[in-house]
């Protein structure tokens, strides 16, 4: 159903009916306008409260949209009442909804978590600017997830990316390597975005339209077209750079390691996931699945890269000494799982990949939050320094371990569910080697997560001048979101119906078949 309202029927401003009818636009416009307001508020705590309020409202709007999607299937909203395909349309189906829920939920939790870390890590006059950059980042990620217009994706992707460069660079207060990390990310991110926009341009040349649904309609019955094929290649490489697909991931480890704790948490759990969403959307929702070049790229490009990423980056993670760098390499490996699900090209595989996208955000969010709390309380950055944390900070260590076990894919934790579906989908497709790679990579994960757990629980606390460290309470504001995420990691093992339902619906809609 179209949410387009004719003039005259417009409900009064800010009434519930108005909000629910305009929720897609409000979500993006509200977060966009709130960024400059955060700059004007100037004081760190004020800006934090403002960012918290906006993320809360955004989360509420996302829930309203979720209700509408459950009710109607697809919500489409014509911007400024200009009818598609000429106007820009915001189109929300199950796939968008999964990305939106992820961004809104993790955004809210990251803001709540962020205050103690930001007050410590960032100099006072930059704190408000940090939250402004965060709100703009939120805008960009919402925009990418919600829009049904191909060029719009580029614009929002760049809003998200440019604000991410700023967020990462703000880590310079604690480590100057944040600056070079941010610069490298900027160069590679811009190359990725430019490749993406070249691809969009080529599509526009071939079809004369930018509306995603209309592009698909124009491409039907077109046959093999060299311009379209080039566009496909540019878009896959461009989004691959943004999502840190295996050989294009070199910007990611340093950017995650040296960014401020709150930025690291939010980026690790949303940034690459939204780029993955965009890749899924373009491969299955814009280009036509099953055409000749798709199957070649799935079997010979994406699947091998996914496996290489899963194994090589897990091995790299094994040899890291810095906690956050270990988590960052593990993120690249986990992106390999999602890519693997996508490259199977079956509804079951895609659904498993999307489910893993959701679960990975939960576990990596919790792990980065935990690492941030250790750094905040004891200045712990290396795995060696984690020793004795199980005694010193029992709650944080427990939540960190839950997320770590979820990362490994142990039963009783959410990570197990998505890996199970992934392995089953691989076997169903006849890709036993893919299933083997998933299991091998999980075994490697046991080792690198095990190194951290061993240090936390089996080693004695560090001593300073002969006296062991004293327990210090974790900041409550930081601890609560971490515990919520850890609980979510357990909850979604027992009842994965929310993400699984959305992932199945998305895969079914994109591939036109039912998921198992």
């Amino acid at each position: 159903m179209s949410a387009v309202l004719l003039l005259g029927e417009m409900p009064p401003l800010f009434s519930p009916a108005w909000i629910s009818a305009n929720a897609p636009a409000l979500l993006v416009v509200m977060s966009l306008l709130s960024g400059p307001v955060a700059v004007l508020l100037w004081r760190g705590r004020l800006a934090w409260a403002w960012a918290g309020l906006i993320s809360l409202l955004a989360f509420a709007l996302t829930l309203i949209l979720y209700g509408q999607v459950l009710h109607q299937g697809v919500v489409s909203y014509a911007m400024g009442d200009w009818a598609p395909p000429l106007g820009i349309v915001y189109r929300i189906d199950a796939l968008n909804m999964l990305a939106l829920l992820l961004v809104a939920g993790m955004g809210l939790l990251s803001v709540v978590y962020g205050l103690p870390a930001v007050l410590r890590e960032i100099e006072p006059k930059k704190q408000a600017l940090f939250f402004a950059a965060f709100l703009l980042n939120l805008t960009g990620l919402f925009g990418v997830s919600i829009t049904g217009d191909a060029f719009n994706v580029f614009v929002f992707l760049e809003i998200a990316s440019i604000s991410t460069y700023v967020l990462v660079a703000m880590g310079a207060g604690t480590d100057r390597r944040a600056l070079t990390a941010s610069f490298n990310y900027l160069v590679l991110g811009t190359i990725g975005a430019t490749f993406f926009v070249i691809g969009i341009g080529l599509i526009y040349m071939a079809t004369g339209t930018l509306n995603m649904a209309d592009i698909t309609a124009q491409l039907h019955g077109r046959g093999d077209d060299r311009v379209v094929r080039a566009a496909f290649a540019f878009i896959v490489i461009g989004l691959g750079l943004k999502m840190a697909m295996f050989p294009l991931h070199t910007w990611l480890p340093n950017a995650y390691t040296y960014s401020p704790s709150m930025a690291g948490t939010f980026l690790a759990s949303t940034g690459t996931k939204v780029a993955f969403y965009a890749l899924v959307r373009f491969i299955f929702g814009v280009f036509i699945p099953g055409s000749a070049f798709d199957s070649v790229i799935f079997d010979l490009v994406l699947a091998p890269m996914a496996i290489a990423g899963m194994i090589i980056c897990s091995v790299q993670a094994l040899f890291q000494n810095n906690i956050r760098k270990l988590l960052a390499y593990s993120s690249v490996a986990q992106l390999g799982y999602m890519l693997m699900g996508l490259s199977m090209g079956t509804a079951a595989g895609l659904s498993a990949g999307l489910l893993h996208m959701f679960n990975h955000a939960l576990m990596k969010g919790a792990l980065f939050m935990g690492a941030g709390i250790f750094a905040l309380s004891y200045g712990v950055r290396r795995i060696h320094d984690l020793r004795g944390m199980g005694q010193l900070m029992p709650l944080t260590a427990a939540a960190f371990s839950v997320a770590g076990l979820s990362l490994v894919g142990a039963p009783l934790f959410a990570g197990f569910v998505s890996k199970y579906y992934l392995v089953m989908a691989a076997l169903e497709r006849g890709w036993w080697w893919a299933a083997a790679a998933v299991i091998l990579s999980s075994v490697l994960a046991i080792f690198y997560v095990g190194r951290m757990l061993e240090a936390m629980y089996l080693r004695k606390p560090a001593e300073i001048d002969g006296a062991p460290l004293k327990p210090r309470p974790a900041p409550m504001l930081a601890l609560v979101p971490l515990l919520i995420l850890a609980a979510a990691n357990i909850y979604f093992f027992f009842d994965a119906s929310l993400p699984k339902g959305l992932a199945d619906a998305a895969a079914a809609a994109l591939l036109g078949g039912g998921a198992s």
């Binding site: 440019i162 070079t180 610069f183 190359i191 124009q218 200045g379 290396r382």
Partner: protein, 155 residues
């Protein structure tokens, strides 16, 4: 002669490819961060040219409605209310006997230029901060300094 026609017919695209490869090569080959940004700028400029080229329609005039008095209202209403099949509305069919160039790529690329300016601004700001804290903008020096500080025991 065929290849001559091919070259002249695709002149803009050839320039785009040369610029694109030049820019990408500068980004990869140089170790100086400012020069990297220059290369990035050249790379992005090639895309601007690609978009502008595709907006040109043979024999097309600038896309300003010529029969403005009675025409603009009518066309506006058509586009606004009824979803016009794209093939009809944007193909190079004359409207009131006039062929217009396609304005959409120009508008798109204005947005991309703004994005490019913002990226350049953030990039240069980062270079300034890097110069302040490392005292150099050469990649080799930065790497050397990072190794040095990594070798020292962490505080």
């Amino acid at each position: 002669m065929d290849s001559w026609h091919y070259l002249t017919g695709h002149f803009n695209y050839i320039v785009v490819i040369i610029l694109m490869m030049t820019g990408l090569y500068i980004v990869i080959s140089t170790g100086n961060l400012v020069k990297k940004l220059v290369g990035l700028g050249v790379f992005q400029t090639s895309v601007f040219q690609l978009y502008i080229t595709m907006g040109k329609i043979h024999g097309g005039t600038p896309p300003i409605l010529q029969s403005a008095h009675e025409g603009s209202e009518a066309h506006g209403a058509v586009i606004r209310n009824a979803p016009v099949p794209i093939a009809q509305s944007l193909a190079d069919v004359p409207i009131d006997g006039v062929i217009y160039s396609n304005p959409v790529p120009h508008v798109l690329i204005l947005t991309a230029i703004v994005v490019g300016v913002a990226t350049l601004a953030v990039g240069l700001a980062l270079v300034v901060r890097i110069q302040e804290s490392y005292g150099s903008v050469e990649e080799d020096d930065l790497r050397e300094a990072d190794y040095q500080s990594a070798a020292e025991p962490a505080k």
